[in-house]
């Protein structure tokens, strides 16, 4: 077990317990920058931990990042770990990140669906959903990215509890989702919401449930282009970008559609590597390159958010 985040291995996949230990180490090592917030408990009672990166102030404008709402997308949780360390290393060293943190807070939820993630380690590596029981069905779990109150239950989600895209009995029925919603709502000053998935190499913005263009479509598209250009500058990884419905498929009840409708203009979803060799089974040696390039896309969006207040 790592005794510090300096000796922690970022080049392998980790269990939930190891990630929790990492979080506690990072907080202990950086008490003036990082704190841990528990925003609720999962269906099976696990804490929903969020890292807060803050240099002070009260209820500053903030950026939300979540990784791993779909539990089998292991590279996303691994990338979240790398981001957390990167933020602590770059603050005070990197001009852009320092400027962001001098004015804004960053919230990072590394394991958004801990029950599903634990289940991928113990029983079924390819589990995607939450682990809540569905009344009247032998099938377990809800797709936490079809459970948000944005076109809930429309085309682009399934009403079948056995489906991988089951939307759940009602919007926000999943405590993992409701906890984020309550946190975001109560905070009231979140200016960018970035949800990280894998795979397919895409950067998407609202909407997914409707073909209607977002009010800020042109601006969101411009920022997305800058982000994917910056991302590609490191290893040449090519991303496509656009609204969810035009870029991949119709998806109702997704997180960024709800955040956008709730007034968070800069709402984006990344789909990380790859484009069709490994899918959800991305080899661990690709964790760091994936995280490094994604960081460039992320910092572009965060920097834009800082410089274009609304």
């Amino acid at each position: 077990r790592a005794r510090s985040t300096g000796t922690f291995s970022y080049t392998t996949y980790h269990t939930l317990e190891e990630i929790d230990e990492f979080i506690d180490l990072l907080v202990a090592e950086n008490p003036n920058l990082v704190s841990k917030i528990e925003i609720g408990n999962s269906y099976e009672g696990r804490p929903l931990n969020v890292l807060k990166f803050s240099t002070g102030g009260s209820n500053r404008p903030a950026i939300w990042i979540d990784t791993g709402i779909h539990s089998r997308e292991w590279v996303t949780q691994a990338t979240g770990i790398w981001f957390a360390k990167k933020i602590t290393e770059d603050y005070g060293q990197d001009e852009t990140l320092t400027a962001i943190l001098d004015s804004m807070d960053i919230f990072l939820e590394i394991v958004t669906n801990p029950d599903g993630f634990a289940y991928t380690h113990s029983s079924n590596r390819l589990w995607r959903k939450t682990r809540s029981i569905n009344a009247g069905s032998s099938c377990v779990g809800v797709d936490p990215n079809r459970n948000w109150d944005a076109g809930f239950g429309l085309t682009g989600a399934s009403s079948n509890p056995c489906s991988e895209t089951y939307h759940g009995k009602s919007a926000f029925s999943e405590v993992e989702v409701k906890s984020v919603v309550d946190f975001v709502t109560n905070h009231g000053n979140i200016k960018a919401f970035i949800s990280i998935h894998s795979y397919s190499q895409l950067l998407m913005y609202p909407y997914g449930y409707t073909a209607t263009q977002a009010t800020h479509q042109a601006e969101l598209d411009e920022v997305a282009k800058a982000a994917v250009d910056n991302l590609a500058s490191l290893y040449g990884t090519k991303y496509e970008y656009g609204s969810t419905i035009t870029t991949i498929y119709q998806a109702s009840g997704s997180s960024i559609d709800w955040t956008y409708n709730s007034g968070i203009k800069y709402s984006y979803t990344f789909e990380l590597r790859d484009t069709g060799y490994y899918g959800f089974l991305l080899p661990a040696k690709q964790i760091i390159p994936t995280a490094q390039e994604t960081w460039l896309g992320l910092i572009t969006i965060m920097d834009y958010t800082l410089n274009h207040p609304y």
């Binding site: 996949y13 029983s123 991988e164 795979y199 498929y249 119709q250 069709g276 490994y278 089974l281």
Partner: protein, 93 residues
Amino acid sequence: KEDFSGHQVLRISTANEAQVEKVRELEKLEHLQLDFWRGPSYPSIPIDVRVPFPSVQSVKVFLEANGIKYSTMIEDVQLLLDEEQEEMLAFRS
């Protein structure tokens, strides 16, 4: 732990909307236990699906009968999972 031996991930390339619709029909056949990693959407976007070993033959026959192109993205899912586990165990040791 769930065993994925013999499970394949197929990449399906559809040429038109009619072929996309055919794949949607496949998606509805619950007994095949298909797991769409990337579901059917537009003809230009590939579809990736994990097919359990007992369904591999049926799915390939269905695709071929309908003139739908596919390739095998992952030959045996369990082999990749075994490699992943070995790496994690090696790290721990």
